[in-house]
Symmetry: C2
Subunit: 380 residues, 2 copies
Amino acid sequence: MNESASGNSGAAPAAGPTEPRSAIVIGTGMIGTSVALALRECGRPVWLHDRDAESVRLAAGLGAGSPLLADGAPAGPVDIAVLAVPPGAIAAELRAAQERNLARCYTDVASVKELPLRQARDLGCDLRSYVPGHPLSGRERSGPAAARADLFLGRPWVICPLAENDADAIVLVTGLSAACRAQPVQISVTEHDQWVALVSHAPHVVAAAMAARLEQAAPGALGLAGQGLRDTTRVAAGNPGMWLQILTGNAGPTSQVLRAVAADLQHAATALDQVGAGDEQAVKELAELLDRGSAGVARIPGKRGGPARDFAIVQVIIPDRPGELARLFQAADEAGINIEDVGIEHSPGLPVGVAELSVKPDAVAQLSAALAAGGWPVRR
Amino acid sequence: MNESASGNSGAAPAAGPTEPRSAIVIGTGMIGTSVALALRECGRPVWLHDRDAESVRLAAGLGAGSPLLADGAPAGPVDIAVLAVPPGAIAAELRAAQERNLARCYTDVASVKELPLRQARDLGCDLRSYVPGHPLSGRERSGPAAARADLFLGRPWVICPLAENDADAIVLVTGLSAACRAQPVQISVTEHDQWVALVSHAPHVVAAAMAARLEQAAPGALGLAGQGLRDTTRVAAGNPGMWLQILTGNAGPTSQVLRAVAADLQHAATALDQVGAGDEQAVKELAELLDRGSAGVARIPGKRGGPARDFAIVQVIIPDRPGELARLFQAADEAGINIEDVGIEHSPGLPVGVAELSVKPDAVAQLSAALAAGGWPVRR
């Protein structure tokens, strides 16, 4: 092995029984580089490859591993090769990697799963060693500079075992998710594509369709926008080129969800037109849609994986200047209270903001008292 | 005047030339009580009325003013009566208040404007003294307990002068917005209803229609949800009964926006179906929708009223225990850096979280160095 200073220096510690002892990451974007960084934090040797040599240099510079060069390749097959390339490029990369016998097993990280599997079958790839995967980082950036070793910490990592898979390959991919400190979730490729269409791909198009209405809006209208509009449309700001690949790669399941949403919106529009004519049935239909929406939101797990409403919120008015937040958290700390989350709302053109502190409900009174004693205007 | 201890005690300081010197608030929900609290902070006497006596008692207990009782009424007309009741109830309350000559001028705070104005005309209200208004608090809660004196601080307050209005009435309503430290925005009732349909009412229905798809989803699918889905659907959790009133009160403009969004989603679904058949034109249409969505989001002003991308983000891994945030902000403070915003992402089942600190771009290097020196794992 010929290892660069930025990469795989030192002896690798013994891996757990299921964790891959060595890896090649093909595609050093945000996801691929993050996987590599996580493996490097476990002390595993990692080799990096990308069509873009500059991207490999950057990832290696971040400590994600060594460039996979003719004179710097592993002596034999590594335990796992991670294909972190766009969905449409996975099958060809898999075929090429298998022909070179780069690894004992292979996985990918794409957010669609049926398309690359179909293409891998068509190309005659060996499906005994390829286990499709999808770590859900929830991070909406791209490129190696956005990578983080802890990107997958506590997040779901979908693994889709195939009937053709060797048991060892499934174990190694599961071990990869463990090395990245993610939570493995085993489902079929069909389930995966339907589920992400519902919770990610269709919502992206819905946000884009709503945001598209703002393109020609009067500037004054946008001045009335509040947090609700910002949140509803936020994801539509994401990289349109990347999303086009994701959506066309998961066209069928996404289309199905979008048709249902479009039909509900069409019905809502018709109901609103009839409301003006005093139609009671129309009001009822509209009420039903709002109730279903409210029930749907209530089913989304919160950040901690449980219901999102576990915490009470204490509001504090804070001057917008250095040191104020430090003083605030110091006061909470001295009162022995853990602040679980914090949001800050600034007021345009004014030198104050409102901090919303999330705490356990039984800590509200104590925190309010501590902050009030420190001179902050507090409201529950 | 007979003033209760919880309310209008002490002599009122002289008001600015345009600020109302006294007020009656009819409807002590979150908005009405917040207006009353803001006026009380300016030292103005305020009388409170609501069909729900318990709500008045609670608002008075918060210091929002005195109950408007037979034996506790102002000696003569107050400067302004604020009708903080649901849209469909405004005209009748206005008529009744004008018959009792409660105030020199009248305004309301409803989020739809054409409906109450039409009803006020139909009831024969005096339109010289009624200036329709709508403060946009951006707060999605209800009831007097959710009220805050600073609710409108820096927020837009729409004022819709009518051809029939006395100039004095417009001045007083503008003064009310100033007393609440809001930013007055003068537009017509028609513009108002179209603008809020676009930036608030239609987005609410769109979020509800997307969230309604989650009602019957597999629990595992919801386990794959990320921040994108939470944000896209969040507003749909809001009070369905209140939203039904808002939407039916602004049916025409909202319906128009929803039809356009539904059509775009229908087209997107059709394009996705054709993508599977290799249709290049379909891919182009989908790309155009994503581009328009991205352009639309870019037009929404940020929290400070400017573009939302002024700040750089520094990420820090923090143990989930008391005192860690205090230490973090203390270190930032000692380095002389103002943290503009902060978000905390917890990892399910793990004892660490990631804090995202927003700072001015030129402070990134200094903050990163200060935090690294303090022992925190930092990434830009």
